[in-house]
């Protein structure tokens, strides 16, 4: 261990910190307690300074205990303010956090005066973080804390999960929710405090919030989220230290973690912005195409089984279209219609698809008029809204239901008559 170079120590230390703050931070974020880490980090400063003044040296364990004490005092104060006054929790956190931090900065300036002997004590690292100060002993402390936190989470995974998801339900089953919450918050506090001298007050909050928030984009399972958050934390630490040479290490780590977040926010499947935009675009396009096919069916209906050549003007007047030309183009490419000059005509393939869509639409209308009690002049639009979003299975169920009620034509392939008058809206 002593054979490690400083860079290696820094990488291992920050990776340990990144991993455990990702894991414990996940519970804090899901529990809506992300700012508790922020408060602990800020409120730790006066404790660190007082511990230094009392001890006269910068023993990391001693300073950490000082930090823990003032952090816990801050939490107690917030709890009391919320309980006994009408101040809301976020305001109370803001008040306590800034007061403690202000007191810390004042104490720090006292310590750094010549004669007190603190100017070289490195207490500044609690503000901005200085991983370069890491000693082998610090590394062992980090490893010990990481081990304890991971063991705790491993053992109490199920208990933490149910308390975070549904506290009342958990309590009704007899789980000591308050104590479990305390264990969770205590783990968060310990991680925050050992992390402070490495990444500093403000960046410590980021280490607790960013990796879990990033992980949430990629999974819908809690255990996977914990794992990913840990990995993102570690990766941010390693990449940040490796490529951030010459930059403040803590800041480089946090910026790396933030870039993970940004990439996930944009590109994660399902929850990412791009994926959502694409899904929305596809849905809109599909709906427009289905409207086109159904309109063409309805316009050709009177002449079936002959496939009518429809004037574009007739189609355009039939309902409101956004970009009709493109729609027709797409349908033509899919072989659903043939276009010649200013007319369009369903192909046999197009007719089959259009008939199926129209049938589904009318089944829905019937269902809604009968069972939901929607007036016939409203039913068309509502069916429009609903039918595109429904799974096929439900449609079959609907069909069977209407069939048993004798409302479906005998030939199931046949499209039932519209339950309302068809025409331009």
């Amino acid at each position: 261990m002593t054979g490690l170079s400083l860079t290696e120590k820094v990488m291992i230390g920050t990776a340990l910190l990144g991993g455990m703050s990702g894991v414990i931070g996940s519970f804090a974020v899901l529990r809506g307690r992300a700012l508790v880490g922020d408060m602990l980090a800020h409120a730790a400063l006066p404790g660190v300074c007082l511990a230094f003044l009392i001890m006269g040296s910068k023993n990391m364990l001693g300073l950490s205990l000082g930090a823990l004490a003032s952090g816990l005092l801050a939490i107690a104060l917030v709890t009391m303010i919320v309980r006994w006054t009408r101040t809301k929790e976020d305001a109370a956190i803001g008040i306590v956090l800034s007061t403690f931090f202000g007191a810390g900065v004042v104490l720090l300036s006292v310590i750094q005066k010549p004669g007190v002997g603190g100017s070289k004590a490195g207490l500044n690292s609690y503000l901005f973080g200085e991983p370069g100060n890491m000693l082998t002993g610090d590394l062992l402390l980090l490893a010990g804390v990481a081990l304890i936190v991971l063991l705790t989470v491993g053992l109490l995974f199920k208990e933490f999960k149910i308390v975070c998801f549904d506290t009342d339900f958990a309590q009704s089953q007899g789980w000591p929710t308050l104590r479990l919450d305390l264990v969770m918050m205590a783990s968060l506090a310990v991680v925050t405090i050992v992390g402070l001298p490495i990444v500093g007050v403000i960046l410590m909050t980021a280490m607790i919030i960013l990796p879990p928030a990033t992980a949430r984009f990629w999974t819908n399972r809690l255990h996977v989220m914990l794992l990913l958050a840990g990995l993102f934390g570690i990766a941010a630490a390693l990449l940040g230290t490796r490529f951030g040479r010459g930059l403040p290490t803590g800041a480089a780590i946090v910026l790396t973690a933030a870039s993970f977040f940004l990439l996930s926010l944009l590109f994660a499947p399902q929850r990412g912005i791009v994926a959502r935009l694409v899904a929305e675009y596809r849905l809109r396009k599909r709906i427009a195409r289905e409207h086109l096919l159904r309109s063409l069916y309805e316009l050709s209906e009177s002449q079936l089984p002959q496939l009518a050549k429809l004037e574009l003007k007739t189609i355009r007047d039939y309902r409101y279209w956004r970009a009709l030309k493109n729609l027709l183009q797409d349908a033509a490419e899919a072989g659903e219609i043939v276009r010649s000059g200013e007319t369009a005509q369903l192909t046999p393939l197009g007719l089959r698809r259009a008939a199926k869509l129209t049938k589904a639409h009318r089944l829905w209308e019937m269902y809604m008029m009968q069972h939901v009690g929607i007036a016939s002049d409203h039913v068309d639009r509502d069916a429009d809204d609903v039918e595109h979003l429904l799974p096929e299975g439900l449609l079959i169920e609907l069909e069977q239901q209407l069939a048993t009620e004798g409302r479906l034509p005998d030939v199931v392939e046949e499209v039932p008559h519209s339950p309302h008058k068809i025409g331009a809206e």
Binding site: L156, S172, G174
Partner: protein, 292 residues
Amino acid sequence: MTNDEIIRGHSSLRFVIFLPSLTVGARRFFICHSGVSGMSSIAFEIHDMTVAYQRRPVLWDIDLTIPEGNLVGIVGPNGAGKTTLIKAALGLVPLASGKVEIYGKSYSEQRHLVGYVPQRESVDWDFPVTVRDVVLMGTYGRLGWFRRPGKAEREIAEQCLEQVGMSAFANRQIRQLSGGQQQRVFLARALAQDAQLYFLDEPFAGVDAATESAIIELLHTLRSSGKTVLVVHHDLQTVREYFDHVILLNMRLVACGPVDTTFSNENLQQTYGGRLTILDEAAEAMRQRDGQ
């Protein structure tokens, strides 16, 4: 020994006998009632209970008794303390005075006999869990500290999902469900608790008609296997149809008893303090005329 005590003794004895079989029991999951016909015991009882939030009383001096095997509606205006009544019964809010008994003993002794469906809005539906995960939580109480749900628990969860018609959704994240489906998941979780006495907080709020009737059907199944179900309910129109007992509540207990005798206009007016609308009264009058 009073007659009452004999009955209670009998009922607790019965649980000792059939509970172990439940955790294993696959098929027998809900046909576990073996009550002696003609004898009914007290499932739920409240004595002189007062509940206060920050010194402001929310429930005053409540006394009520619910015999086993009933479907009970808890009815009253907003702020009447319906949810508080349930939470007090479950030990989620402290009692200022009085006591609650589940099959003759305190809640902390009998919580394994109790299932709970909280209000749907009470949780974050974006939480990273699947439908199956949520239902499995119903088994956590039995599992105890540190033990993870295993094959037996997953089987129970599967059956409960089937009972509420949600098997196909087991792997869905819970946000990707409709309100009615979410309510069914909560119900499945309570079923997985394998309880004798169920408390449901507004299970019909914001659910579709199909879900509402599915829930009611399920509650009837529970009742016919000897379970007792208490339901916070808002729709006065359906009280007669759905429940056989009713608790009328407005900070104090207005009335409690069989729907036929208790759910009267007079009691309703007392409960709603004249807030019962003309429409409600008209509907009630029509129903009475139709019933006769």
